[in-house]
Subunit: 139 residues, 4 copies
């Protein structure tokens, strides 16, 4: 099977709905997505370190894009819970995140996320795991 949406379609939606977020979808599949952000000064710490909340925001976004890959554009899907672990400082220009879905249910979508910086894909800077609630099921 193939993804329910393309990265171009996700980015077109983001450009309209969140023109200044800076987050972009790099690629998307039926149960996964890759996203990136090249944050500006506001999201940096001394030593050219990308801030933790910026990485969290990217994890949150890439899980949403993976959900889009599974079920199509669903803007009203909302993060229910997300936990993140930071492994090493995210030193560099661009942080990438890849989400894999474990579960695509009628009410919820659950996935894991791994993050790295620039071309150091083997040096994980953070991992996360979380749940989106799909629109009809919001409590």
């Amino acid at each position: 099977m193939s993804a329910a949406i393309t990265a171009e379609e996700i980015n077109a939606y983001l450009a309209e709905a969140f023109p200044i977020s800076g987050q972009r979808c790099i690629d998307v599949g039926e149960r996964w997505a890759i996203a990136a952000i090249t944050p500006d000064e506001r999201a940096r710490r001394p030593g050219n370190i990308i801030s933790g909340p910026t990485i969290f925001g990217l994890c949150d976004a890439v899980l949403w894009y993976a959900l889009f890959g599974a079920v199509g554009l669903e803007p009203m899907a909302l993060t229910s819970e997300l936990s993140i672990r930071y492994l090493r400082p995210a030193q560099g220009d661009t942080v990438f995140a890849r989400a894999e879905l474990h579960h695509v249910g009628r009410r919820s979508v659950i996935g894991s996320i791994r993050c790295w910086v620039d071309d150091a894909e083997d040096k994980t800077v953070a991992v996360a795991q979380g749940t989106y609630i799909r629109p009809q099921a919001r409590s």
Copy 2:
């Protein structure tokens, strides 16, 4: 016992180190802190909802301030892990977060956080729980 630092001292530090974050410390005690942010357009969703990552960023910050309340200013303390649960949309202008510390160790500090919007302190919008690693113990 009293806090190792005041809210004014924390805000003076933030104004110098993170002049554009918008986060501020409202109050701080020996094992707790309260923080707030009144985010601009970038951090808002349709319906005047404050974005999830903005709330996460505030949880992350207020746990840091509570750590300062316990041990004094410690800029190199780093978030090790943080999990957040969203309870209802954060509709309003200003989101507040209160952190309570459960543990202040030589190597780590663990706390819980509760968030609300404007003066609706009894309507929790998010809860979180997480760990900071203190400088000498970074792995």
Copy 3:
């Protein structure tokens, strides 16, 4: 308001449904509960330390009892997610857990839990936070 159930009623249900779990409800309110377990050898580690999964199981149980306090006996409510942090070794005979609910929705219940051992209530051994999904909303 008062709790929707008493500790005696919860314990009567547990004795019938889970006669060998060893977990018991100590007290319950409208949005909170206290539980305890005095585990046998199987759940102990060298040094009379109560095992981590035993503490997790008690956190899971006490959140369920707090849900009962809020809405009455609801055996089909299921844990959706739970995160736990261990603060110090749980040395002693009986571990206690107290859950506080942050949210009681039609579909989900969210709460925080704090654990201690024997009469050292001020020495937290673990904290947790998690979500139960109520029967009608299982995804």
Copy 4:
């Protein structure tokens, strides 16, 4: 590179240290491990469902075995934090868990875990993510 220990060595250690846990290591690599448990009545719910805390306990164990695979037997490594998400009821006889390590540091080890039941490896019943603290670094 190869694992620092074999599944047989881990099981020999478990048989001596935890003779009645029922958990066993199926296989182990340099950065991963697979574990299983076939729980008795105590860990079952109506409908032949394996209990949530039993699955949590297996996640906790398999992350420990993966750590052994990376650094050798290290009984004093302790769970620092672990979060679990349940995806569907764990109906069946034996639950399996596979841990993958993202980080093997001097002070901490971080990994993700996926669980399934019997031979339905593609039907994930739970996912987890967590941190072990290595002996020299306990806070």
